[in-house]
Amino acid sequence: MSASVELVALEGVTCGYGSEAVLVDVDVAVAKREFVGIVGPSGAGKTTVLRVIAGSMPPAHGRVRRRAGLRVAYVPQIETINWSFPVTVQECVLMARVSSRRLPWASRVERVAVSEVLARLGIEELRERHIRELSGGQQQRVFIARALLGEPELLLMDEPTSGVDVRLRHEVLHLLDDLNARGLAIVLMTHDLNGIATHLPRLVCLNRRVIATGSPAEVLSPEVLERTYGASMQVLEHGGMPVVVDTFEHRHEHLPGVPEGSAA
């Protein structure tokens, strides 16, 4: 990584909302063509890291070094999208060209660019469809298409597989892997340790602070996971890959008013 070209680096970044610090003294660097996953529990500051990388949230302390002219695109969680908003696939994707043209309608060059990016993602025939009339995988592709239309060097993704089934998770992961192989640097945040995180080349374990960073084999250890999630986990190995298992201890506590042995 030291020999690679750095796109963005957070150095000792502390920031938050109001007086509460969400990130404390965070160091994260992303190099060209890297594929980094940020994992951590809810409230760990994963989205805030993306926001700082994107430049839409300034740090209270520390600094952010960003390569001059770096093009960053952000793909939100599809669960946060207002699916009733009246936009067709083409209108949605064209939002990426917000600054390139004053006129409301798309130029011929823009229409060609939209067609190309939609064709690349296999959804060109859906361009006139409303965004709600698509399957989960197609919806995810629309927002990736919007990001790609801006020709980014760094793609930020917020929980790309949140609330999706196994088939769609594989579909999204293969798509991102393909984009990364073509040279796009990707940073995604996920809570899905086995489905996503273990398949990525590099992970950052975050819980307000960076707990560990490295390959899945290096960082997915019971000790790091307990420090990150505050819960006991075991790490097994399957086919050369780590598999994280919750260590759920059954505690038989007597509930007030419920007789012992009864099904409460």
């Binding site: 909302y17 969680q77 999208i81 209108e91 939002m95 917000v98 600054s99 929980e159």
Partner: protein
């Protein structure tokens, strides 16, 4: 029959009123698209009441109504925008607090210093009797300005309305876009208050946009459809107002409501599904994680 329909066009006040109502309908229809999609339907109602406070203050201080009420409306709009953007309280609460306080102040000023009468009723319910050429020019200017701003900032306004967090991360100055929209909205309400009255402006903002949403899934089509529906409602409502001898504001709103009911029935389940989630707008931003 044709003679009867054309009879009111002999009167200058009617021609002026018709021009203002038609332009007001189109203007409110256009701005209403953003208002409805941002889940701020209540703002038309609230802001028109807030401007009423300025109207009362202007009447008592003897300053120009457009300047006094306009400044009051813009200040209220910017306050709502500032409070809403802090995300501590929702837009509905911000609108409720600021605009009802302003309205109450207007009522108190009238109660203390008098002044209730023709102007008071006209401000509340709209009247075409006082519409002069200067009102036609004013609303034409506001319509032209609003249309130009929306045309030139179409992409940024769409992005900000649909996906403010990503728009912000993509370099769009969403705070400026929200403020711009609020200023246009305040100007539009101010310009249309004479015809529609403060109590009915909300309907002129919300109904055409809602009808258009039932008819299309495309944002660009929704914009021109809502403006066209507003124009039709203004024109038809104003003519009916004369022939039925009912105030202009209620008649225009009733025409719009009839159109809503007709489209609601014709589009059936499809239209209802499109508009059902408008009320559920306000998806929680994920940034707070």
């Amino acid at each position: 029959m044709i003679d009867g329909l054309l009879a009111p066009f002999e009167f200058e006040f009617f021609r002026n009123g018709l021009a203002v109502a038609t332009l007001a309908g189109g203007l409110c229809g256009l701005i209403g698209v953003y208002v409805v999609l941002k889940g701020m339907s209540y703002i038309g109602h609230g802001l028109s009441h807030a401007i009423f406070g300025g109207f009362a203050a202007s009447a008592l201080l003897g300053v120009n109504f457009l300047l006094g009420a306009g400044a009051w409306g813009v200040a209220s709009a910017l306050m709502i925008n500032a409070v809403t953007r802090r995300r501590v309280i929702g837009s509905d609460a911000a609108i409720g607090v600021i605009t009802t306080a302003s309205f109450a102040l207007g009522l108190a000023l009238f109660a203390f210093f008098g002044g209730a009468g023709a102007n008071f009723d006209a401000a509340l319910f709209g009247s075409i009797l006082g519409v002069g050429t200067e009102d036609v020019v004013a609303i034409a200017a506001v319509s032209l300005l609003a249309g130009t701003l929306i045309f030139l900032r179409y992409r940024a306004l769409l992005f900000t309305t649909f996906d403010p967090e990503v728009a912000d991360a993509s370099g769009v100055n969403t705070a400026r876009m929200d403020a711009l929209l609020m200023l246009v909205l305040a100007g539009s309400i101010l310009a249309t208050m004479q015809v529609l009255g403060v109590t009915l402006i909300a309907a002129a903002l919300v109904i055409p946009a809602t009808v258009a949403r039932m008819l299309t899934n495309s944002f660009s089509r929704m914009l021109w459809m809502a403006a066209t529906i507003g124009v039709v409602c203004g024109f038809v409502g104003m003519n009916l107002s004369y022939h039925l001898d009912v105030q202009s504001g209620p008649t225009i709103v009733l025409v719009a409501a009839t159109m809503f009911a007709a489209v609601f029935m014709v589009t059936g389940a499809t239209g209802r599904r499109r508009t059902a989630a408008l009320a559920r707008r306000g998806v929680a931003p994920a940034w707070a994680d």
